[in-house]
C-alpha cells in the first residue's frame, strides 16, 4: 500500500459514514452494565423509524465516564446519555428528530469532560475499535507512513526526545533516551515490547486504550521498531483483559491484511510483525525483566539490572520496553511534532496523563489531563468530590505509591511533585478515600497484596512483606506496642533498600506514607500502657 491508497481508504470510509453517528460504548465497564443490548436496540430503533440512511449506530470504545455507563453519545449533536437501558433506546433515536429521550442526559460541559485534553484518548469513544478503516479515516497510520518515507530513524528518535515524553508505566524514564540507547546498539535482532500487564489495582488506563484504540498502540510500536531498528514486537497483555486481547488480535489481522504490518510495509524495506503474549496472573510480570522472562515462557522472576533490557533483553537481544500509554502517545507526536508535545504540561513532565479516578468519588472513570493540573482540580472539580462527606486521602501509584492527605491536594500532578510527597505517579490509578477509610487498613491491604505477589526470589521482599503484614494486623487488633511500631519502621527501611526489584523496593511506600501523614491512626491503636513506658503484659 502507498499513501494514495491509504488516503483513498480514509476518504472512502468518511464518505460512507452517515451524517449522524450514535456512539454506544462497548468497552468493559459499559458492557458489564448491558451496553451490548442497548446497542442492539438502538440499531433496531434506527431501522424502525426509517432513519437508516441518515443515522448510524457505532460500537465505540470507552468514553471515560465509566461509572455512569452505559453511555450513548449523539455525534455531531453533542448529546450524551447516561445509564442507558435497552428500553431507552427507541426514545433516544426519536430524540434525534426532536422527541424526548427517557435516559438521563449527561453534561458534556461539566469539568469532568471540559478540563480534559485528549491525545492518547483522542479517538477513544469516537471510532469503532474493531474497524481499521475508521482508524485510517481519522488519520491513522499516516504518521507511520511519514516516518518510513520521510524520516531517518535518527530523526524519529530526535523527535521523541524533543517531545520530552517520559514513560507512562510508572518510573517516568525519558522515552527518547531509552529509544536512543536501543537504536545505538549494533544492528541485528532487536525487539520492541509493549507492557500491557497493568497489574496495579485501581488502574485501567491501559485496558481502556487497548480496547478502545488498539491500532494506535500498534502504530506506536511500529514507529518504535523503525526508529530503533527492530523488526519484531511483542505485546504482553494480562489474561484478565479478554476483550483487549480480542480487539488486539483483530487489529493485528486487519493491519497485516492491508500490508501495514508484516513485510515491506508501505512498499519500503521496513518489516515489522507483532505477536501477542498473554499473562497468567502475576503482578511482578509488569517488571520489565520479569516480563521478558515470562515472554520466554518461564517464571516471572526479575533479574538484576544492568544489563538493562535495552542492552540485553528478550533472548539476549537489545529490547525496547515501553508501556501501552507511552506507545499510544507516539503517533500524535510524529504527526504534530515534538515541540508541540513539549508545549503541554510542566517543565519536567510533558504532555498529558490518563488517570483512573475511582473510589469514594462522585464521577468515576478515566480522564486525560495535562500534567501539572492539581489533585484538587481532579478530585474536587472533575471528580465532583465525595457524594456525602469529605476527602481524606488520595492514593496514587498503587502498591508502589502512597496516600496523599487532603491537606496537600493543591499539589500539581507531575512525576517529581508526587514522589516528593512519598507517593508516585505510577501508572495512573487514583483512588479517593473518605473519612471512613482506615489508613492502617489501607496499608495492610497493600501489604497483603505485596505479600501475595512477591516472586520470592530475594529474602527482604519475601520475608519482609509477610512480617510487615503481620505487624499491621497486630496493630489493627490493638495488640501491638511501641516496639512493634518501631520494628515496622525498621522493616520498611530494610525492605526498601535491600530488595532486588521495584516490587520490594516500593512495597513499603504505602506504610511509610500513611505513617508520615496519619501517624495518629497508628498511635491510637497502640496499647496505651506501653505508651506510658510500662512493659506490655499479655492477658
Amino acid at each position: 500500500m502507498d499513501i494514495t491508497e491509504l488516503l483513498e481508504i480514509a476518504e472512502k470510509e468518511r464518505s460512507h459514514q452517515k451524517p449522524i453517528r450514535v456512539h454506544c460504548c462497548t468497552s468493559t465497564g459499559c458492557r458489564a452494565a448491558n451496553s451490548l443490548s442497548v446497542k442492539k436496540n438502538l440499531e433496531g430503533a434506527v431501522k424502525d423509524v426509517g432513519l437508516s440512511d441518515r443515522v448510524q449506530v457505532v460500537g465505540v470504545g470507552c468514553m471515560g465516564f465509566c461509572g455512569n455507563g452505559p453511555l450513548v453519545e449523539i455525534d455531531p449533536q453533542e448529546k450524551l446519555y447516561e445509564r442507558v437501558t435497552p428500553n431507552d433506546a427507541a426514545s433516544i433515536i426519536e430524540a434525534i428528530n426532536g422527541g424526548i429521550a427517557t435516559a438521563p442526559e449527561g453534561d458534556l460541559k461539566h469539568p469532568f469532560f471540559a478540563r480534559q485534553l485528549r491525545i492518547v484518548r483522542e479517538n477513544s469513544g469516537k471510532i469503532d475499535p474493531e474497524s481499521i478503516d475508521e482508524y485510517i479515516a481519522v488519520g491513522g497510520y499516516q504518521p507511520l507512513y511519514k516516518v518510513i518515507h520521510d524520516m531517518t530513524p535518527a530523526e524519529v528518535v530526535d523527535e521523541i526526545t524533543r517531545s520530552g515524553l517520559r514513560g507512562r508505566g510508572g518510573a517516568g524514564y525519558p522515552t527518547g533516551l531509552k529509544w536512543a540507547t536501543v537504536a545505538k546498539m549494533p544492528p541485528g535482532q532487536k525487539y520492541i515490547v509493549c507492557n500491557g500487564d497493568e497489574g496495579d489495582p485501581g488502574a485501567f488506563m491501559d485496558r481502556s486504550v487497548l480496547e478502545s484504540d488498539p491500532h494506535k498502540v500498534l502504530e506506536g510500536m511500529a514507529i518504535a521498531g523503525y526508529a530503533v531498528g527492530a523488526s519484531e514486537g511483542y505485546i504482553y497483555v494480562r489474561a484478565e483483559y479478554p476483550l483487549a486481547i480480542e480487539r488486539l488480535e483483530t487489529a493485528i489481522k486487519q493491519a497485516k491484511k492491508l500490508g501495514i504490518l508484516g513485510s515491506q510495509i508501505f512498499y519500503s524495506a521496513f518489516d515489522f510483525k507483532i505477536n501477542i503474549r498473554i499473562g497468567a496472573g502475576a503482578f511482578v510480570c509488569g517488571e520489565e525483566t520479569a516480563l521478558i522472562s515470562s515472554i520466554e515462557g518461564g517464571r516471572g522472576n526479575p533479574r538484576p539490572r544492568p544489563p538493562y533490557p535495552a542492552q540485553e533483553g528478550l533472548w539476549g537481544c537489545p529490547t525496547l520496553i515501553n508501556n501501552v500509554e507511552t506507545f499510544a502517545n507516539i503517533a500524535a507526536i510524529v504527526r504534530e511534532g515534538g515541540d508541540w508535545y513539549a508545549s503541554i504540561g510542566t517543565e519536567k513532565s510533558k504532555g498529558t496523563k490518563v488517570f483512573a479516578l475511582t473510589g469514594k468519588i462522585r464521577n468515576n472513570g478515566l480522564i486525560e489531563v495535562p500534567m501539572g493540573i492539581t489533585l484538587r482540580e481532579i478530585v474536587a472539580e472533575m471528580g465532583g468530590g465525595i457524594p456525602d462527606g469529605e476527602v481524606k486521602a488520595v492514593q496514587t501509584g498503587g502498591p508502589s505509591g502512597g496516600c496523599i492527605p487532603a491537606s496537600l491536594l493543591d499539589t500539581p500532578v507531575d512525576y517529581e511533585s508526587l514522589s516528593n510527597l512519598g507517593s508516585m505517579m505510577g501508572s495512573g490509578g487514583m483512588v479517593v478515600m473518605d473519612k471512613e477509610t482506615s489508613m492502617v487498613e489501607v496499608a495492610r491491604f497493600y501489604m497483603e497484596f505485596c505479600r501475595g505477589e512477591t516472586c520470592g526470589k530475594c529474602i527482604p521482599c519475601r520475608a519482609g512483606t509477610v512480617q510487615m503484614y503481620h505487624t499491621l494486623t497486630k496493630i489493627l487488633k490493638g495488640e501491638a506496642n511501641q516496639t512493634d511500631l518501631e520494628r515496622l519502621q525498621a522493616l520498611c527501611d530494610m525492605v526498601k533498600h535491600t530488595s532486588l526489584c521495584g516490587l520490594g523496593q516500593s512495597a513499603p511506600n504505602p506504610v511509610i506514607s500513611t505513617l508520615r501523614y496519619f501517624p495518629e491512626e497508628y498511635t491510637t491503636l497502640i496499647k496505651p500502657d506501653v505508651l506510658n513506658g510500662k512493659v506490655a503484659v499479655s492477658h
Binding site: T28, G29, R31, A32, A33, C66, G67, G69, E198, G199, D200, P201, G202, A203, F204, D206, R207, A239, E240, Y241, P242, R277, I278, G279, A280, G281, A282, F283, S294, I295, E296, G297, G298, R299, G300, A356, T358, G359, K360, N364, G365, L366, Q395, G398, G429, V431, V432, M433, T437, V442, F445, Y446, F449, G452, E453, C455
Partner: protein, 179 residues
C-alpha cells in the same frame, strides 16, 4: 543422509506422541496448539492456558504430556504452572465467581460482598463447593474499577455489586438455595 534419518525419526516420534494413549480428545486440542507454536519452548504459558481451558485445571498427566512434547524438564513445567496465579492444579467448579479485591473495589465494599458469598456458600475464597458446583475466587484488579465493586460470574463482569445482588446471581445457578 544421516541428518535426513534424524529428521524422519523426529517426525515419527512426533506423530506417535501426538496420540495420547487415553484417546482423550482434549489432548488433540493441545497437540494443535503446540504444533501451531512449532513446539517452541517459549510457548509453554500459551499451551498451559489452552490446557487449563480444555481440562478445567492442570492435572499432573497434562503437565507430563506438555513437558514431553516441548522437551522441557517436568520441574520447569511444574515451576511455571505453580508460579502464575491463574493456573490451577486443582479441579475447579462448574461455575466460577471471582470477587475483585483491588483498591477501588475494596474501598467500595467488595470485602462485604466476599464475606456474604463465603457465608452463603460455606466455602472460603480459593475453594470449591463440595458438590463441585462453584469455585469462589478473588482477583487483584479486573481493570473495571470505574464500576467498582466488580464481580465476574462465569467470565462475565458485573459492576456495582451489592452482597444481595451477588447472592441472587449464584442462587440462579442453584447454589445454596436450600440453605
Amino acid at each position: 543422509m544421516e541428518s535426513t534419518g534424524i529428521k524422519t525419526k523426529q517426525k515419527a516420534d512426533r506423530q506417535a506422541a501426538s496420540e495420547h494413549p487415553s484417546g482423550d480428545k482434549r489432548f488433540k486440542v493441545l497437540d494443535i496448539t503446540m504444533k501451531r507454536a512449532q513446539y517452541r519452548q517459549d510457548a509453554l504459558i500459551e499451551v498451559l492456558h489452552k490446557a487449563q481451558e480444555s481440562f478445567g485445571f492442570l492435572e499432573e498427566d497434562v503437565l507430563l504430556y506438555v513437558a514431553r512434547k516441548l522437551k522441557l524438564p517436568l520441574s520447569r513445567v511444574f515451576g511455571v504452572a505453580t508460579f502464575y496465579h491463574l493456573f490451577s492444579l486443582k479441579p475447579s467448579g462448574a461455575h466460577s465467581c471471582v470477587v475483585c479485591l483491588g483498591t477501588a473495589c475494596y474501598v467500595k465494599g467488595s470485602g462485604a460482598v466476599l464475606s456474604a458469598l463465603e457465608n452463603h456458600t460455606g466455602i472460603h475464597q480459593g475453594e470449591t463447593t463440595a458438590d463441585g458446583q462453584m469455585s469462589l475466587m478473588t482477583a487483584r484488579c479486573l481493570g473495571a474499577c470505574g464500576i467498582a465493586p466488580a464481580v465476574v460470574f462465569d467470565g462475565t463482569v458485573a459492576g456495582k455489586q451489592t452482597a444481595e445482588e451477588a447472592i441472587d446471581k449464584i442462587k440462579q445457578w442453584g447454589i445454596g438455595n436450600e440453605a
